[in-house]
Amino acid sequence: MRSAVSVILSSSSPDPNMAHPDYSLTVQSHADMLLMIKHLDEDGDEKWFEQVFSHLSSVKKINLLDSAGNERNITARFVKDYPVGNNDWGDFQTHRKLLGLVSVSKCNSQSELNEYCRLHESLKVKYMSTLFDTRCILFGNCKDLSPPSNFKSTALMYDCALDGCKDELTKHMNELLSSVFWILESKLQERSREKGDKIPMLLAPFEKKDFVGLDMDSRTNKKRCMGRMTKHLGDLSLQAGLPQEALAHYNTAVDVLRAITDWLWLGGALEGLSAVSILLLPMQQKVPTTSTSVQRNSSFQEKSPRTLRPVSAIIERTISLTSVSNIDYIPVAEIKRNYRDAIIHYSKYQNAGFIETEACFKAARFALDQKCVLDAHHYLQGVIQINLVLTEEEKIAKKKKNSDSCHKLGFNRKAAFYKRLAATRYVSARNPMTDWAQCYQLMLQSLPGHRLTLDPADFTQDRLSGWPSLQKQVLQDLVVAAKRLGNSGLATRHMTFLLQVMWRHMNPAERVEAANNLRHVTAQCEGAPVPLVLEDGQVIPAANLLNIPQAENFTVQNLEPHLRPKKLVIAKEDYGPFLFTPLHFGSMDRKQGKFKQTKLDYVWVCGDPCCVTLELSNPLPSPLEVSNILLLTQGVYESIPVSVVLPPESTGQVIKLMGVPKEVGDLQIMGYSTHTLGVKSNCQLSQLTRFPHPPHYSIEVIPALPLISVTTSLDPSATCSLYAGESVTCYVRITNTSEVPITILQLSIDSLIETQDLISWDNADLEKLLPIAPMSSVQMPLHLYGAANFLAVNNDSCSLRSCFFSGPSSLPSFSTPQPVSTSSVSYRSGASSLLSDFSQRHHSDKSCSELHLVVKYSGGESSLKGYCRLASIPLKIDVLPSIMITNCDVLPGEVSSQFYLVLDVVNVTPHEVELRYTEGKSILIEETGSCRVPIPVARCPFSASLLEVEQHVLSQVILHWSIGARTGKASFSGLPFNIDKLDLVKLSPVSWELTVNGSPIESGSEVTGTVGDCLSFDVKLRNCLSHTLSDLTLVLSLFQDHLNGVVDHQMDSKATAVGTTQASISTVEENEAVGHAVGFLFFYPGLYKLSVQCIPKSEPDHTWKLVPPLEIHVT
């Protein structure tokens, strides 16, 4: 504040008649004696003078004993300069009188001494009317010099530094103060003794012409003189250390002056009364207790008389009025009222503006001390309405003072408002000395009051704080100030900050304007995301353009599929007991967890290109050039800069930020950087809010992996067609295109369908190829097989059999096993129906398999970590049907150790097929033709299980087909055997040995007999099993087969048995035989047949027969 005063006082041409407000005055100033310490050498060492001044002014309080022996506390106030205009108000308020003068300087020569003595004298003349005593203190080599003869003051000369004579100076100052006091005391005594009719009229400076021509002897005037003098005495008493007397004088003066409506002096008296009351307040009253809020309210509500005053305040007031004489202090509320009255009285005089201003500030300070903020505010508010003639600088000083006071009240918004006003004053058109630096500084200081800081981190996007429209204005002004200051870097920074922080609150037009402004500012200085340091050490944090362009999305991409590392061994994921649960336990946590997940579950590979996609949108209606978009990472990463031009008001422009990680380990992806509108911005993910994302991404970079290319000898675009059953070998070529040798190689097939039979390779071959050195290639064979189901399965299994077989019961009626003859006759009966039946299924069975051959490979360091890569190559294998088996059945063989498997084979190719169905036997089938082939198959042992039987049969049935040069094998699985047929398929558990009339007969041979002769048959049943058979019934029966489907079992009239045709056998040990003899006597010649069968009693359904039945030719 003192500096503000010195600014005022050092102004070029101060009006001598003008009074200047000194905002530093306090209530205490009323009791101070005013002394000036003046540096005579104005261009001299300021610092040195400051030291001297602070030392001299430290002596500001002395205790004296007056003539009556009472102790007086005398205080002093020191100034460096004092306007004469203020001094002229000394009669009105004596503390404005300059009472003492101390001039200080360094002096080394006689001429200097003469000059300083002259200056000192001229100062004395300047303040002649009020000065009581003076000193001239000179330092330096001047001890021997003598002051000029006309120098009448006390000169103190020191030829040492300040430190050497501090004690002496203190003593001299004490002396000076007591000297001044005694003169003051004498004046006081003199004044108080003046007689009533001789009291001179005391006048304020501007009043002098007001009283010209008035009757000075009127009663009113006498009272006026008396009142004013009493007030004057009060002032003097206060300064002379007699506050109680001052109080009494002021009280008298108030009464007198009020009676004659001398408002200005009444105001003075009231102010003096207030001052002395405050000084007399006991300590506990100076620091208010809780009760002050009531007093504050009461005083405030007087201003707004609509509300009722609290009763307590009224009571307090009455107490204070009645007890004013008894108690030696006046209550706070009373003081405040006095102050207000004083201010009101002052305000009636335009010329007393500066007195009023000072009074306001003093009152405000007092109210603030009493914690009556609203009162203080009210006093300060009054200051604004005082119309003072001030220079621009004084106006600025006043605004600053206002701002400071508001700040002290806690009215930060108002303080900021005044700061801004002061700032604009510095550069207003009326101010001849515009000072943009000061303006900028004040603007900066006004930011906190508008809830603004310059750090973007303080502004979270989702929280509204402060007053956006004002904040925008303030920041814009700041930009202008910085620009005019010539610091375009600063202007750029503020403009960027404005765009970053206030974007939400701007309408499109403002945004465009701001962007254009930024473009304009950056033409002079580009913005970079580094903190700026001002000359005074203030740091302006970096600001970034987050909204131009706006990021809509930011995705860290996995590597391209063929580069993507996989785990060699995939750990089975634990899904818990539930595959899916609709319940979300702690759904809030999970949501946040998802948001905060920074670690990505895929990896990047060191040295391999990777990509981050960024979606940008341009909010401006003009094309936006964004250059040098880079990824911000922590970790060594080579980012490839991208530049784009975004079309006007476009959204979702996808930009791929490519780069190569150069270091193994975790890579932190922090955001991206742009360069647009001349500003380089680092857009951290943590600052982006338009889409959910973690504050940063973390991705693991693993060591380099090898890379291969895979080709096959097959045409990759064409389909490889195979006839069902055909085998082909192709070659796979694997080339290592990387610098890393391949040490692990695995092949697998990826397909939706079952492809085990379709393709095969030898893993041992694969092992032999390893390792594959960098930049070399290897080749390995791959076997393809046209796997297909050759069985055309009928929907209805019954119909299969009923198609042309007449059922197991009729089997024996096949008198001759004609179909199984060795001839190559094919049955074409029913072929058309078979074909039509088959053609329905033909298309569905044609299988075109698309499958991928997957090569899993790894090498280098990452293979140790369990990573590998996959290369896949598509294969298309089309399996064309070749031959189909539409039906099958089993017929008894020619010998008992064999049976015939009869198959209906259809050629479903458009070519002629040669079918080799058994050793040395083949058949040609025309295109789309069918034929029935018998395949002799050795019967399998009786003890074989169903599965074994099937395998036994399938191993013997292999159909070789050939279409031109192409050959293949047809094999099938799962023949529809049933129990009836099993008896045919399996070897019989018993063997028969027959003798006729003692001579053995071969199976299938003919026996001849004559009518009337008895043929005696000896049947021996031998157990071929490995265990004992028991409870068997041996049945021999004679019958005639008419070969027309009629079998005549009624043999009673044609032949007769000699002996029993049935025998019960209890047990047959293994490899033992049981015999039974029976004779037959034939009555007629003819062809007879004898069936021999054995039925186990436990399983009457099973019969073991002699196959074929014995034929007997009777003549």
Binding site: S304, K414, H450, L464, P468
Partner: protein, 137 residues
């Protein structure tokens, strides 16, 4: 009669501000903004002792030669401010109170709108209409 009406949220950010002459809007922004200091001061005094019985109407916040600013604070610390011309001596305290009550009920009305997010700027035709009526009448 009012020349400016303002609604300020509990965290002292403007929710709505309208004035008769849009050219002077920024001036009113400043005035209303600085008046918040006074409101805060007044609330800090009375807030502690008796929150329930506190009167919403705060009276004159401060007055300049041109304008007088009145304040009104709801229980949820939403502030209403009305700026009148100081030269208009006809305006009585009761009328000011009535204006505030009108604004308060209009505010309550829009707060009841389920589509209004408390804390957002007020963009309601109804409120606009009410505010205008306060300024014109």
């Amino acid at each position: 009669m009012a020349v400016c009406v303002a609604v300020v949220s509990h965290n002292n950010s403007p929710k709505y501000i309208a004035c008769v002459n849009p050219d002077n809007e920024l001036e009113f922004h400043y005035k209303v903004h600085t008046s918040l200091d006074v409101i805060e001061e007044k609330l800090s005094n009375t807030g502690k002792s008796n929150t329930e019985s506190r009167e919403f109407y705060l009276g004159i916040l401060y007055s300049t030669e041109e304008h007088t600013i009145y304040g009104y604070v709801t229980n949820t610390k939403v502030k209403f401010m009305i700026v009148t011309e100081t030269s208009n001596k006809l305006l009585r305290d009761n009328e000011i109170r009535a204006m505030f009550r009108k604004l308060h009920s209009a505010y309550t009305h829009i707060i009841c709108n389920p589509f209004y997010v408390p804390g957002d700027d007020i963009k309601s035709k109804y409120f606009e209409q009410m505010a205008r009526s306060v300024m014109v009448s």
